[in-house]
């Protein structure tokens, strides 16, 4: 069988396998809508909070209004006691409780440093952080106002008092994801993972289908081809398909969700190629080993969640136990996700992702060799 004939036969095998086509095109398109869906509002806003105002001075009421004015917090209602507030918080699923202590204003005037208490529901981290942010913004503003007033009272000029209320200022800036949006955080990593997982699934389904056919005693089209030619033809077809799918992801899909695309076209294409190679080979290995076609989907799906958590974008690598981390290095998605984020979201230079590119190249060699050996073995077994 010539290489061209093999290529044509392979194309036929891919485009007549409905389960495979559904996974490749259906999966990639469907997931590109489904995964960003919960996060499209990007940032949680106006979390509802109940207030317990035990002071009820005019000053305390102003503070409550200031908290209400922040983008993060909205005052749901006032409660007369802490117990009542807690009850209402659980019943109405509110985000937290703000307590203005008794004699807040008096203690403030006496220089006794009263404390404002925020209690938030920490079972939801993002909500807790958001409420805290809003409340401390209001608290800090209030503290600054008080300091300025105190300085004025002790005889400083207003301009000076305003400038000097802190000895040293801290300007905090979010870098790369300035709005701290959730889509911008999750999607660049998850999209790489989707490409990775569906590609392996597709290869696995193809290989598994052939194993099923072989078991039933049917002839498979590549029985007269060499394993190397088969490896080449199959990888080429999938890389072409996935380059097109990647174009959709890194192009219109990113543009639609307004995700930064800082990488130069050539760099991104090169990285994509280096990424697709080991993934294809890994998929061929799985396909050669698995007796049934649905098992690839099973394995890939079950591995997704540990992969997301262990690849370093949710949780720092340094905090992940060593053995798990070592094991994860065998999966191409792990270095690839890091490389894509650095290159495309953070604007790193191609030289800076060299360690990841090298890592992917080593995986390519390893999985390529394994795929070749496994295909050879399968073919020999078939010949017997």
């Amino acid at each position: 069988m010539s290489l061209f004939q093999l290529f044509k036969a392979e194309l036929g095998a891919v485009f007549t396998n409905i389960a495979l086509l559904l996974t490749l095109f259906g999966g990639v398109l469907f997931y590109s809508v489904l995964y960003p869906l919960p996060y499209v509002t990007q940032v949680p806003r106006e979390q509802q909070v109940v207030v317990v105002n035990l002071d009820d001075s005019q000053f305390a009421r102003r503070l409550v209004r200031m908290v209400d004015a922040t983008a993060q917090v909205q005052i749901h209602s006032q409660a007369s006691s802490l117990a009542q507030a807690e009850e209402r918080m659980i019943e109405k699923k509110l985000a937290g409780i703000l307590v203005v202590p008794e004699n807040f204003y008096r203690d403030l005037l006496l220089g006794r440093r009263p404390s404002l208490a925020f209690a938030g529901d920490a079972s939801y981290f993002l909500v807790f952080g958001t409420v805290l942010e809003g409340m401390s913004a209001a608290g800090t503003t209030l503290a600054a106002e008080i300091k300025v007033t105190q300085s004025l009272l002790s005889g400083q000029a207003l301009a000076l008092a305003q400038a000097q209320h802190h000895a040293i200022n801290l300007g905090l800036h979010a870098l790369f994801n300035e709005t701290q949006g959730y889509v911008n955080y999750v999607i660049p990593a998850v999209f790489v993972l989707i490409l990775h997982q569906t590609l392996i699934m597709g290869m696995g389904i193809l290989g598994g289908s052939e194993n099923e056919q072989q078991k039933e005693g049917k002839t498979v089209h590549w029985q007269t081809a060499s394993p190397a030619a088969l490896l080449l033809a199959r990888t080429l077809i999938f890389i072409i398909i996935y380059t097109l799918l990647s174009l959709y992801y890194y192009g219109p899909a990113y543009a639609y969700y307004d995700i930064p695309r800082l990488a130069a076209m050539g760099d991104l294409a090169l990285l994509n190629l280096v990424f697709l190679l080991p993934v294809s080979f890994l998929g061929i290995c799985l396909g050669a080993v698995l007796p049934r076609r649905e098992l690839a989907t099973l394995i890939v799906l079950l591995s997704s969640m540990p992969l997301v958590f262990a690849c370093g974008f949710v949780w720092p690598i340094s905090a992940i136990p060593g053995p798990i981390n070592t094991l994860m290095q065998l999966i191409p998605a792990v270095p690839a996700i890091k490389a894509f984020i650095l290159l495309n979201q953070m604007g790193a230079d191609f030289r800076q992702i060299f360690p990841q590119v090298l890592h992917l190249t080593i995986l390519t060699a390893g999985y390529g060799l394994s795929a070749f050996l496994l295909l050879t073995r399968r073919m020999n077994r078939f010949a017997l």
């Binding site: 869906l37 079972s123 979010a174 790369f176 911008n184 905090a319 798990i324």
Partner: protein, 383 residues
Amino acid sequence: MEKRASEWRLLVEDPWLVSLVTWLPPLLFVMIYAIFSQGMARNLPVGVVDLDHSTLSRALMRYYDASPTIALARNYPDALAGMTAMRGGEIYGLLIIPADAEKNALLGCPPSIEAFYNSQFLLIGRQVKTALLQAHATALAKIETLKHLGSQAPVMGQALARAVPVATQATPLFNSSTNYTQFLVSAAIPALWQIFIVMTTVLSMATELRRDGLADWLKDRPVRGLVEKLTPYGLLFWLHGIMFLVTMVFVLGWPLHGSLVFLIFCQLITVMACQCAGALIFFLSRDAARGLGFAAAYCAPGLAFMGVTFPSTDMTVLARVWRSLMPISHYMDIQIAQANYGAAQVLSLPQVGYLLLFILPGLAACILGARISRTPSGSGAAV
């Protein structure tokens, strides 16, 4: 009784199914736990560009470095070098202390330290940001208290009150140590559990395809055939759920303020709800590979839609609809209400109601099954 015995035998004969209902779920649960077991990130690398080289800048750097979350790992000669390192992902944050910071501070013209944190890695970035804010507030309070002690307010308490007139105290409720392990793992494991249940339901029914076809399995009594098929798996997965809950409460010591019995009961209806959904998916596809593909599309993003990492109140209507189609979102609401809030069980009744609604896909599966059972033997198997 004879039929049920054969269902167990079918399960035991397939090593993949055996793995799915025995060792694989606990193994992955433990792995998820292990990943987050440290609970808090420590010593995240942060870079410094010190353009001042003064006593003040060195004192500030010591204060920042004292924070357990961050570690001032590297010094850079200028902002450009620091930014390049940020882009390369070598450091999660960068501090720039301007030239003449000390001189300006003494002259009463407050210098401004610029701090950058990597918000592309949102969770990590937030931790760096909080650590920087806290470390800076501590440093400021110390410096200003000393200043006031020297001049206007000779008593420590007064000097502190002048430096920080209003104290703020944040109390995290229901997860008192703001522990990431508890926060993420207690949600991720149920999400994974749902994936296991739905996938295994589809796979277990697909074994019939490989035997004598669906019609043979469902002939005469389709509903009974279905129930007998699903019961052993349901019981095993319920056992996994109970194991997870018991480990969470009694081994890890995470809070459970509500009723364990009620939660375990809710787990049972969650398992059944997932099985109903899985059965419907199978009958709609009638093929193992396509069925698993649909199941993957359905429940793979379970954690994202659960509303734990990103609040469900801020989701769009469409997202909330998809969320409510997954049993595990309702279970998670109950688990949080029971375990964390210790809320009255009455408050969880709506969620229990939603879970019971999953009888509808179950009924749909029965109807589809009944239709297959009426077709002549053999033709029910999809090719």
